[in-house]
Symmetry: C2
Subunit: 224 residues, 2 copies
Amino acid sequence: MKRYALIVAGGSGTRMGGSTPKQFLVLGQRPLLMHTISQFASAGNSIEIIVVLPQNQIEIWTSLCSYHQFVIEHKLVAGGKTRFESVRNGLEWVEADSLVAIHDGVRPLISTTIIEESFRIAKEKGSAIAAVSLKDSIREMVGDSTVSKNRNNYFLVQTPQTFQSTMIKKYYGLAKSKESFTDDASVYEFFGENVTLIQGDYKNLKITTPEDLIIAQALLNNNT
Amino acid sequence: MKRYALIVAGGSGTRMGGSTPKQFLVLGQRPLLMHTISQFASAGNSIEIIVVLPQNQIEIWTSLCSYHQFVIEHKLVAGGKTRFESVRNGLEWVEADSLVAIHDGVRPLISTTIIEESFRIAKEKGSAIAAVSLKDSIREMVGDSTVSKNRNNYFLVQTPQTFQSTMIKKYYGLAKSKESFTDDASVYEFFGENVTLIQGDYKNLKITTPEDLIIAQALLNNNT
């Protein structure tokens, strides 16, 4: 079965307080999106890589690839206004009857082990969603106050979220982007499917704040 | 109002894969419990500090304090078999009609700002529980599968959990340790109280894995 990585990098960088889009922030001497792409390239030479970027970042990205002599092959697709639209645009380039791992561009520390496992499980079960259990206690808002919940019943969802392409393409085609989907798993679920969770990794963090970049750098230094 | 910090450090270190109790792991050249205590000492010179340690670690700790010339005054109390019992033992040394911030010994990066805020709010509202919103999507286990939930309705709970001492002492006295309380807020809530959340901090992490120590060191280096 053909395997795709659909790497979505639509962030404009405003939450980082800077003007550099998050995916272009430098980690270990190169833009973190290059780390993300490299992990999928390392996970298996048969993964076809699609990167979705905002239209106005494609030229910068091409220059960055040239400057950093980044030669891993990947198809560039222009994103939409929302993450949902960006994923949908990317899925148009994914063939039916294949597998597609949808992944946040700003999760550069994804392990090749999890990538491989997500394809393996999605092939068997239809989907494979990386998730981790909670380390802290959790409370749920109920009316004006909050109540303690059993943390063992909850999972924090990461990416990759890997699917059999025929199904996820169909559901993204049917769904309206106005529905507030928080991730790809919830699109899949919206059409009556149950998703399969696989073990994610606390190191697989999503870089959204300056502290995250410091943490990612420390974890990266420790790995190499 | 008199203010106490009740710092609970009961860990044996097994989850770190080593034999050093987590609270004695070295961060920035000294045991991380010293960082935790220092933060409460820096937050206000009127905070009386109580540290709960397993009985068999008290002698080592005293030696460590001597070796590191750690002179911040604190009362040592022997812990119990569970975190619940350790907190209860510590609360015996807290006067009524005061305020007490109960804090995990292995959260060394707590800011003095949050400490001060927790006392301020607990004085006014009865309790102040540090918590952060979720960065990732969340799923809840329902039967054999999971369903996507709105992450805006959930909070991850940290410490300090600060209370008016008369109430929390009473509830810890009434509660049976066999009830599975995950934190102090849930003890308080069990007796019909609503807790008040305050803004915690992603940097205020609980050190439970080797990666957490790497992350804490990176965040500490960045602060200094």
